[in-house]
Amino acid sequence: MMIVPVALPLAAACLYALFGWNRVTAWLGALSAGGLLAAAILLARAGEGSGLWGLLRVDALSAYMLIVIGVVALLAMLASPGYLRAEAVAGHAGPAAARRYGIFTQCFVAAMATAVLAASLGMLWVAVEATTILTAFLVGHRRTRKATEAAWKYVVICSVGIALALLGLVIVHYAAVHAGLSTREGLDWVSLAGHAGRLDPGVTRIAVVLLVLGFGTKAGLAPLHAWLPDAHSQAPAPVSALMSGVLLSVAFYAILRVKVISDGALGPGFCRLLLIVVALASLAVAAALLIGQRDFKRMLAYSSIEHMGLIALGAAIGNGLALAAVLLHILGHGLGKSVLFLGSGRIQQAAGSSRIDEVRGLGGQAPGLATIFGLGLLALLGLPPFSLFASELAIVRAGFTAGLGWAVAPALVLMLVIVAGVGGTAGRMLLGQAPPGAAGGLAIRLRGAGVPLVAGLVACAALGVTLGPLRPLLESAATIATIGPPAGPVGGAR
């Protein structure tokens, strides 16, 4: 059962390699994403277990992340056929490029599923680095100067960042072996968390800094965030949705696991301080560059840095309420951001540019899409009824009750700046006067392509009202992220 979320997308990738991208196989990606989501729900209901000779392991936290991957992948894959059709009409992508798109997106989803199901820090690292290489070709999909530049910077910065995490992993392994764990157990989540108290503090401290900075690079956190706006603005829209909506969170999932080990070995203060610094720096970067932003895809990219900063802040606060809010925020942000990136892809294809000046007055020309885009932005700015309102409120409340008001207050100020910046830009883009000579040039008919967008927004709003059947899973996942996985023997193969 545990192998299904990895095997399904891999099988779809093989089919794309065999048959290419055509009218029928175009929907294969959505089918495999739907299957992944169903498998994730079944795994969540089945509870803990390990499989594939102990390489994979599922608990509430990994099942929850798997559900996030399934949901965002489903939205992105439902939008892909329409996106590629428009690219083909515009002459940007031939059949060979479409086939590559199919293969690489499916392998990318499989790598993310492997990352959250990995039983050890080592497997997780291998899977996260694999996502970098797979998405590099998707970022460079259009092969223009800009796309090539973005892809190069993306691979170099992310590989260097993640190399720091590899060094951290090597050092944790060293500490673990000297704490009496075997080579095989030395990178395993459960044994590391269970024996965290025996790890040498001096060595573990170096390792935690490297791991947080390294995985933080992939999560889009400052100081190594520079790749993110370039890559997200150049990638095809459904890939941007996947990268921003879920790849960043998968990398942050690694930090959540590391934090449990760090708290056990060094006490909660060390990782908390590190995460607060990183979080406030990310919020500051996002705020500075969201004011007066001239490109709507880059605006969405900087908003991702903001939200990852908020998630890091929630993780730093670190009590049960904060981590439940962090996990809800991950899902809400995944939904909202993928709707926005998919919508921005339609706008970009119609306008031939992602500059805000060229799509002014979108509301008059394409009311349907402008409404969806506007609602999506409201969701991201944390307005009710969307779930990001609930999770942001919970993070702030948890921060003040934990006595971390000194960290939450500047974060709130920066968030206000961001609301003002994004609000102003969105006003020009959606409500402003259309540029002369562009009258009717942006006639975008959504038809079927609007369905995943509306579905994503509705889901995001519904989560803000009630968690429904997700509540028990979210609560046990938050417990695991707060105090670590329950000790004791892990169930056999399934």
Partner: protein, 219 residues
């Protein structure tokens, strides 16, 4: 393997590992840089094999040979092919001069020694005492990455960092679990292949591989 012989060969391998890393900063001829990188791969393979012989661990010795093959033969071969595809055989004028770079290396070495003190203190053996060397090469690799202007030099910088991390893994313990080591090696190979493809595209789009030309994306 007797203890004094083990310590001497280990130190020899580590010395060669450090020297080849630092010499990369000295040379500006890209073909020579690839040669130095290949030599460093040999030193790394030897380092692991010596550890394996000392621990009487067949798996580790074989792994040393494998790592040596990947880093001394396969990766340099790929880079030489990428170099042959283009015309530029030399590093353009680097942002930091060679003399200044070598001075910086001295500072980086001291930083590496200071930072790795807790690592050595946990278990002071001949192998862990060489960990600062690995960290020095890591910092040198990072320095190459940020100051050099050719695409291929950046790839070498990244690979120096990766060599250094592998060396650290085998100096601190007998290596991370085999599955992870294989996965890491595969990822590195794929990353180099990806960068090679991107270099070809860069040459087609920009007419060269000078990274200073990459400045179309900004806010």
């Amino acid at each position: 393997m007797t203890d004094p012989l083990y310590v001497q060969t280990l130190d020899l391998a580590c010395g060669a590992f450090l020297l080849t890393g630092v010499l990369v900063l000295w040379r500006r001829d890209l073909a020579a840089i690839i040669w130095l990188f290949a030599l460093q791969g040999v030193a790394l393979g030897a380092l692991i094999a010596v550890r394996g012989l000392h621990e009487a661990d067949v798996e580790l010795t074989v792994l040393g040979l494998g790592v040596g093959l990947l880093r001394a033969v396969l990766l340099p071969y790929l880079m030489r092919r990428a170099l042959a595809a283009g015309e530029e055989g030399r590093e353009a004028r680097p942002h930091v001069s060679v003399a200044a770079s070598l001075l910086v290396t001295a500072v980086l070495t001291m930083i590496a020694y200071a930072v790795s003190q807790p690592l050595v203190r946990l278990a002071p053996t001949p192998a862990t005492q060489a960990v600062p060397i690995a960290l020095t090469v890591l910092l040198v690799g990072f320095f190459v990455l940020v100051t050099r202007r050719r695409a291929l030099s950046q790839v070498v910088g990244f690979l120096l960092m990766d060599n250094a991390i592998t060396a650290a893994a085998f100096l601190t313990t007998t290596g991370v679990p085999l599955v992870v080591e294989l996965g890491v090696s595969l990822d590195v190979l794929l990353a180099v292949l990806a960068l090679q493809v991107l270099t070809t595209r860069m040459r087609a789009a920009f007419g060269g591989t000078d990274l200073d030309e990459l400045r179309e994306l900004h806010d």
